[in-house]
């Protein structure tokens, strides 16, 4: 990670662009104004602009905004000055809330000017709803193309977690265009990317749409000035296994345990030891964090304690200070940095303790064991019993569901009888509405009925024997494992200084998505990988316009060819990012990760779980 950043695209430029756009858009509304923020947009906006910037005075000594409100769907009206600006995602429900606000103001004879800024673009449907509600006449609609938000120097996120459900479950293509536009934006900054690989149907759509839109603008792309050499688009639905596995890298564990949102993490009392909770921004700026984020958890504490010791010695220097000048120097230069490091360190140590406390409990260990044995495909009966036990004990609904999904995914579906009984028990434990969740999961292919999925030529044979036969047969996950060597043969993976990507899951499994990225980059084509690609739903494509020097080609290719943008449609986990960073170090690539949102297995499933409407 510490390498030079000369050719690596500076993602902060994207942030600056959005920030300027927002500022000038707000300034174009003359006079005093209040800002009403969509809760979904608060954190992303914080990363881009921040409340201080919004409240700052601009060149004309005018405040960008006067007051900032949070858009609360339960609130029927809000106070404020004559001009109100809503900064929202274009969602139908949000539009209704706004319409309510306007109508309530109308009925109490308050006159205001309303503006809606839709992020990242306005949707016709939203305008229609406003029209239906009869408030279109009082509202002006604007757009702010804030798509990818830099979360770190190598992570970009659309912060659109709803993409997963709307695209894969409801086949709503609305956000495909936003993804395509965001790629165009990047390419406007960093040059046209010569090599594009895609895995999955969404990737294909994005690429087609991107070419369609770009085709209007330019002909005969110029690849000479590109900062990014390769683009790899990956659909989440080709690899559900990876996000469902428990994360074991430090950053992944933080996300799993505390939840990281838009790069911010909130530590409660258990970590800080104080009454207030602390909000911390996790990024490579934080030296200590940068050092441990990608590590397997077992090596984190060790580093932190050694760091603590070295910090202590540095602190102790102050006792050895002799002259007044030295002391002054120490206070002026070092002390502040040391104090900041100390604070960060104490947070990380606190977090480690909490994680350790949770993860070393017997339950989690058994859980992890089951998970890994599912991946290996061994001890099927025991695993099922364990899952059943979890259901019966009514342990965490989502955790159990994760195992159920893994069970189905690794087996190409759960044998019909077990499926029914597990489903029934699950519903008894967690409520009838989970029936619908199972339906959603089967639509996504995350939990399926083996009988329905595997086409058996001899279905007339006894059902029990056929399903038993299917169990022993190689599932598509198995064959992917074998062909891509996802499950390392050796048990001893060096977790301290890893040599294999699988270290992120304690050597039990290498993320499929990242393995596919590796394959695409080294082969530069998908031809000859039919045995692998036939198991990936949605198909693959490769458009290679600049081959890397293999033999004949003169090595005049720009160094950018080693910069790879990996775009996850439907979200990616921190473990995958760590695996890619590892791959980069190993093979000399530099990865920039873009995603629709950063997910964990839990947040992924929460998108799919049905909740009864209130």
């Amino acid at each position: 990670m510490a390498g030079s950043t000369t050719n690596f695209p500076n993602v902060q430029r994207i942030r600056d662009m959005v920030r300027n756009d927002l500022a000038s858009l707000l300034d174009s509304f003359k006079g005093k104004k209040d800002l009403v923020l969509d809760t979904e947009l608060m954190k992303p906006l914080d990363r881009v602009a921040g409340a201080t910037m919004l409240k700052q005075r601009n060149l004309l000594k005018q405040r960008h905004v006067d007051k900032i409100f949070k858009l609360d769907p339960t609130q029927k009206s809000i106070h404020g000055c004559e001009q109100r600006v809503y900064l929202v995602r274009p969602q139908m429900t949000t539009m209704k809330v706004i319409a309510d606000h306007v109508n309530s103001d109308r009925s109490s004879n308050i006159k205001r000017e309303y503006r809606i800024i839709m992020v990242p673009r306005k949707l016709h449907v939203c305008e229609m709803i406003l029209e239906h509600e009869g408030v279109m006449g009082y509202i002006t609609i604007h757009e702010l193309q804030m798509d990818l938000i830099p979360l770190d120097r190598d992570i970009l996120s659309l912060e659109l977690p709803q993409f997963f459900r709307s695209f894969y479950l409801d086949s709503d293509h609305t956000w495909i265009q936003t993804i395509a536009k965001s790629l165009i934006n990047i390419q406007a900054l960093c040059g046209i990317i010569p090599n594009v690989y895609g895995i999955g149907k969404g990737s294909k759509m994005v690429n087609d749409l991107m070419k369609n839109i770009l085709g209007e603008k330019l002909s005969g792309p110029d690849y000479s000035k590109c900062d990014i050499g390769n683009l790899i688009l990956i659909d989440r639905d080709i690899d559900f296994v990876t996000p469902l596995c428990s994360q074991l890298t430090y950053e992944g564990l933080l996300d799993d345990t505390f939840g990281i949102s838009c790069g911010y993490i909130e530590f409660g009392k258990d970590v800080t030891g104080k009454d207030q909770s602390t909000k911390l921004l996790l990024s490579s700026e934080d030296q200590i964090f940068d050092e441990v984020r990608n590590r397997h958890f077992s090596n984190v504490f060790e580093y932190l304690s050694s760091k603590a010791k070295s910090l202590q010695t540095e602190f102790d220097q102050r006792h050895g200070l002799e002259s007044v000048g030295d002391t002054k120097d120490f206070v002026a230069t070092k002390l502040r940095g040391l104090k900041a490091q100390k604070a960060a360190l104490s947070h990380h140590i606190g977090a480690c303790e909490v994680i350790l406390g949770k993860k070393t409990k017997g339950e989690f260990e058994e859980y992890l064991q089951t998970e890994h044995s599912l991946l290996e495909g061994t001890a099927l009966r025991e695993n099922m019993t364990f899952i059943e036990e979890l259901i019966n004990k009514q342990s965490s609904m989502i955790q159990t569901l994760k195992l159920l999904c893994l069970l189905s995914l690794t087996l190409d579906g759960i044998p019909a009888r077990d499926y029914k009984s597990l489903k029934k028990q699950y519903c008894q434990s967690h409520g009838f509405e989970q029936m619908l969740t199972f339906y959603n999961l089967s639509k996504l292919g995350m939990i399926t009925d083996q009988e329905l999925t595997t086409i058996q030529p001899a279905t007339s044979l006894g059902k029990v024997t056929s399903s038993m036969a299917a169990m022993t047969k190689h599932s598509s996950f198995k064959s992917l494992c074998r062909r891509l060597a996802l499950i390392p043969k050796t048990d001893d993976i060096n977790l301290k200084s890893p040599t294999d990507m699988s270290y992120v899951f304690s050597g039990a499994y290498s993320p499929l998505s990242c393995k596919l990225v590796e394959q695409a980059l080294t082969r530069e084509t998908f031809i000859g990988m039919e045995e692998i690609t036939k198991h990936l739903p949605g198909g693959v494509f490769a458009e290679v316009n600049a081959k890397q020097s293999k033999g004949k080609m003169p090595s005049s290719l720009p160094p950018s060819s080693k910069v790879v943008l990996v775009y996850f449609l439907g979200g990616c986990t921190y473990s995958e990012i760590s695996a890619l960073r590892f791959l980069g170090r190993l093979k000399g690539y530099r990865f920039l990760v873009a995603t629709t949102s950063i997910i964990t297995g839990t947040s992924l499933l929460e998108q799919v779980v049905e909740k009864p409407p209130i």
Binding site: T93, L123, V125, A180, G362, K424, F432, L436
Partner: protein
């Protein structure tokens, strides 16, 4: 001699040169036409022939309008079917205006294709128009009409016909003897002659009495003419005097007595230097200093004022009368010693190979740059290519002696002349002078070529002049394509292909515009074909919707990947069709279908159910109903909705789901009953939670009942009960339960729950009954690592020892040591 056709008029010269010998020679006799209108800037000529008016015998044929190029080639003809034409004229954009006596103005292009029509107000319609003038206003082309009530109405622009009524002339009882429109200071005013009185009237209701300086006796001003620049005015009096002065009537340049009692047919200005009066075949040119020239023609002529001269249209010839430009005069005037003249001479000698060339050049050595400039400028004013060449050669020759002369002017002139010579060609027939082109600009010239359908010429010129593609060739191509789609005799396919071939993917050409044009011509098929070439779906879709090709629009919108477009079409479809038809039509397109589902999901859940129903998607329909059941408040409604869902599932034979839903109904009913009985909320808990809650609340009987009713497996029931009892702190009950029968979950479950609730004492009670294999784990769970280690040692199980070891933290140093020694002992014994 260069000066052979120069006619002196005072101290300037007038030159009459032939532009064309007319293409209509021997076909057209201007005598036979009741109206002739010629457009400025070398534009087309329109002729109106009305046999009914001219023939000696009564005929009932309709009038005929014919348009010609300036070179006399016919471009359009039509029979006039509307009312009485009062006046014909051209707009600055080369549209033909026909003003009828009822105030209706019809606008045609010069191929006489009808473009549009507008009226000049109710009053004009009621009382009839008796006279009309078409003039250049500051906003374009204006029309002024004189009604039979002697009121004048004007519009300043035919593109934006806002009618203004001018002030009344006091005491005007008869038709004014003459009137004209004067455009000064961005205002159009009319100068009206009531006998010998002159009034200037404007639309603000003001009139000004004018009294020009005039010495001759005047009874009436019978004719007046304003110069092209609107600065000068000429008036003809009944006594045969031509008064020439400024248009504000403040200055009089001269009064010229023609001694003609007869009023001339035409009175016009030649540029701004001379007034031309035309009597039948005699043309009199009068200068501001009473100098005059007389020309005799052998046929009637029509005069057209230009900025820099006067065009004279005759039966056989088209001539141009203009003042010899100063620079030309300087070069060619006999005996001129101007540098330009010297250089021109020098070049001539040089061509002859005479050494005199050197002498001439020496004479103007210091002024050579002026000489070159003069030659370049003069070449622009020549119409004859040979003369242009001579002058340019002279300039080029002079240039050779100059070291730091900027050649741009020379290059520009060569280019312009090339263009001018091209468009002056007979075949095109736009006799523009250099001065006129400078005013008109090349862009407008290209537009005019495009209007005349000289697309290839236009493209060549714009390429030659290096006009950027977007405003040059691609614009022309778009026009061409628009013209092409109007050719009705050609097959759609052929045209579409031809257009696509030419246009290719030229930047800046919008196929949708062309398609729109095709649509306006009523060629839907062609429009659709053309739209296929349009790369931007956003442009295709609105047009397709305009054509009511909603299905195609929908598929195009889908292709575009822009869901917004899809929604636009979908919602429009939804409004324009019956629901059934609509649903049927979107079924075939999965993308639009799922988008619509998404819309319904949030906007209209009922419609969503209908959709699934129509699709026979029973499970989804049932799921919708299940979701809906959660909203229903009353139990009866809920069960009703769930029963409906069951019906749906039955249709799809989803037996498993049916069973689950039935169980849910059953559970709901139970929960309602329990709520009533215990006055505590149970609704919406899962079965598990219900039993758990009941157990915690000590209602063992009911929970047992539920267990039987729902056939809950033993293991689960035990787990529920153990956990619930532990939570309730019913340790005695728990103990009793453990002795009930052999627990299917094993004794370790009891240990686990006790440990969870931090009751180590209770946990230890069960320890003795835990199976030996589980004992170590249980002890660890309780937190008694020491005992665990001992047990493991007793079991002689190294694995178990390792397990305990892995649980040891920093605080357990002693234990770690002892485990290590235990392991050693085990190892030794083996």
């Amino acid at each position: 001699m260069a000066t052979a056709d120069w006619n002196p008029l005072g101290d300037v010269y007038l030159r009459k040169t032939e532009l064309y010998s007319m293409g209509w020679a021997d076909i057209v006799d201007l005598n036979k036409f009741v109206a002739v209108a010629s457009c400025q800037y070398g534009g087309p000529i329109a002729l109106l022939r009305d046999d009914a008016q001219t023939a000696r015998v009564q005929v009932s044929t309709k009038p005929v309008i014919t348009t010609y190029t300036a070179a006399g080639y016919q471009i359009g003809q039509m029979r006039w079917n509307s009312g009485q034409i009062v006046k014909m004229g051209w707009t600055v954009t080369e549209d033909l205006l026909c003003v009828q006596d009822d105030g209706v103005v019809l606008v045609y292009d010069f191929f006489l294709n009808f473009k549009r029509t507008f009226g000049l107000g109710q009053e004009a319609k009621d009382v009839k128009v008796i006279d009309c003038q078409i003039f250049n206003s500051f906003q374009g082309t204006g029309i002024a009409i004189l009604t039979s009530t002697f009121r004048i109405f004007i519009i300043n622009s035919v593109d934006d016909p806002r009618i203004r009524r001018l002030a009344e002339v006091p005491g005007l009882q008869t038709e004014p003897s003459s009137w004209t429109i004067i455009n000064l200071d961005r205002q159009s005013r009319a100068l009206v002659a009531k006998g010998k009185e002159l009034y200037l009237i404007d639309h603000g209701g003001q009139f000004q009495y004018q009294s020009p300086q005039i010495s001759a006796e005047v009874n009436e001003y019978v004719m007046m003419s304003v110069s092209y620049s609107n600065k000068y005015l000429a008036m003809f009096t009944d006594s045969g005097v031509i008064w020439i002065g400024s248009s504000d009537l403040q200055k009089c340049y001269c009064e010229f007595n023609t001694k003609s009692p007869q009023c001339p047919q035409q009175l016009a200005w030649c540029g701004s230097g001379a007034v031309v009066a035309m009597w039948d075949k005699i043309m009199l040119v009068v200068g501001p200093d009473k100098d005059w020239i007389k020309f005799q023609f052998d046929s009637p002529v029509h005069l057209t004022q230009e900025d820099d001269g006067l065009r004279i249209i005759q039966n056989y010839q088209h001539e141009f009368l203009h003042k010899v430009p100063d620079v030309t005069e300087k070069i060619f005037k006999i005996g001129s010693m101007e540098p330009g003249a010297m250089l021109y001479e020098a070049n001539r000698e040089f061509m002859k190979g005479s050494q005199k060339a050197d002498e001439y050049v020496r004479m103007i050595k210091d002024k050579l740059d002026i000489a070159v400039d003069q030659c370049i400028q003069a070449s622009g004013h020549e119409l004859e290519p040979t003369k242009q060449k001579q002058l340019l050669r002279a300039a080029s020759f002079g240039k050779c002696f100059l070291t730091d002369y900027n050649p741009q002017a020379f290059v520009d002139m060569c280019q312009m002349l090339r263009v001018l010579n091209q468009v002056r060609n007979h075949a095109i027939g736009i006799p523009l002078t250099y001065t006129q082109l400078e005013k008109l600009t090349t862009t407008v010239l290209i537009d005019r070529l495009v209007l005349r359908k000289f697309f290839a010429y236009a493209i060549k010129i714009s390429q030659y002049l290096k006009i950027p593609e977007a405003e040059g060739s691609s614009r022309i191509l778009a026009h061409w394509a628009c013209y092409k789609v109007k050719q009705k005799n050609q097959d759609d396919e052929v045209i579409a292909r031809a257009i696509a071939q030419k246009l290719g993917d030229t930047p800046g050409v919008s196929y949708s515009e062309v398609a729109n044009e095709a649509l306006e011509c009523g060629r839907e098929e062609l429009a659709i074909r053309l739209l296929d070439y349009e790369p931007r779906a956003a442009h295709q879709v609105p047009l397709l919707m305009k054509m009511h090709k909603d299905q195609i629009a929908l598929s195009k919108a889908i292709e575009s990947g822009d869901t917004d477009l899809v929604y636009t079409v979908l919602l429009r479809l939804k409004e324009s069709m019956t629901q059934g038809d609509f649903l049927m039509s979107i079924r075939s397109m999965p993308i639009s279908y799922s988008l619509f589902l998404q819309y319904c999901r949030q906007q209209n859940p009922k419609l969503l159910e209908d959709l699934y129903y129509q699709e026979d998607n029973f499970i989804e329909e049932g799921n919708c109903k299940v979701m809906r059941s959660f909203i229903d408040e009353r139990l009866d409604d809920r069960t009703e909705t769930l029963n409906q869902a069951i019906k749906c599932y039955q249709k799809g034979r989803h037996d498993f789901v049916i069973k689950q839903t039935e169980d849910q109904i059953k559970l709901l009913k139970y929960q309602r009953r329990l709520e009533e009985e215990f006055n505590r909320p149970y609704m919406d808990l899962s079965l598990h939670q219900t039993i758990y809650r009941l157990t915690v609340e000590n209602n063992f009987k009911v929970s047992e009942q539920l267990r039987k009713e729902f056939k809950i497996p033993d293991r689960r029931y035990w787990w529920i009960k153990i956990q619930a009892l532990a939570e309730a702190g019913e340790w005695v009950e728990l103990d009793k339960f453990s002795r009930n029968k052999k627990p299917p979950v094993g004794m370790e479950a009891f240990v686990e729950v006790c440990a969870k609730h931090h009751n180590v004492n209770e946990a230890m009670k069960y320890m003795s009954r835990v199976s030996p294999e589980q004992k170590v784990r249980c002890l660890v769970k309780v937190g008694n690592k020491k005992a665990a280690a001992d047990t493991a040692f007793e079991n002689r199980n190294e694995e178990e020892l390792n397990f305990v070891l892995s649980k040891c933290g920093h605080s357990d140093r002693q234990l770690v040591e002892s485990i290590k020694s235990m392991k050693q002992q085990l190892g030794l014994k083996r």
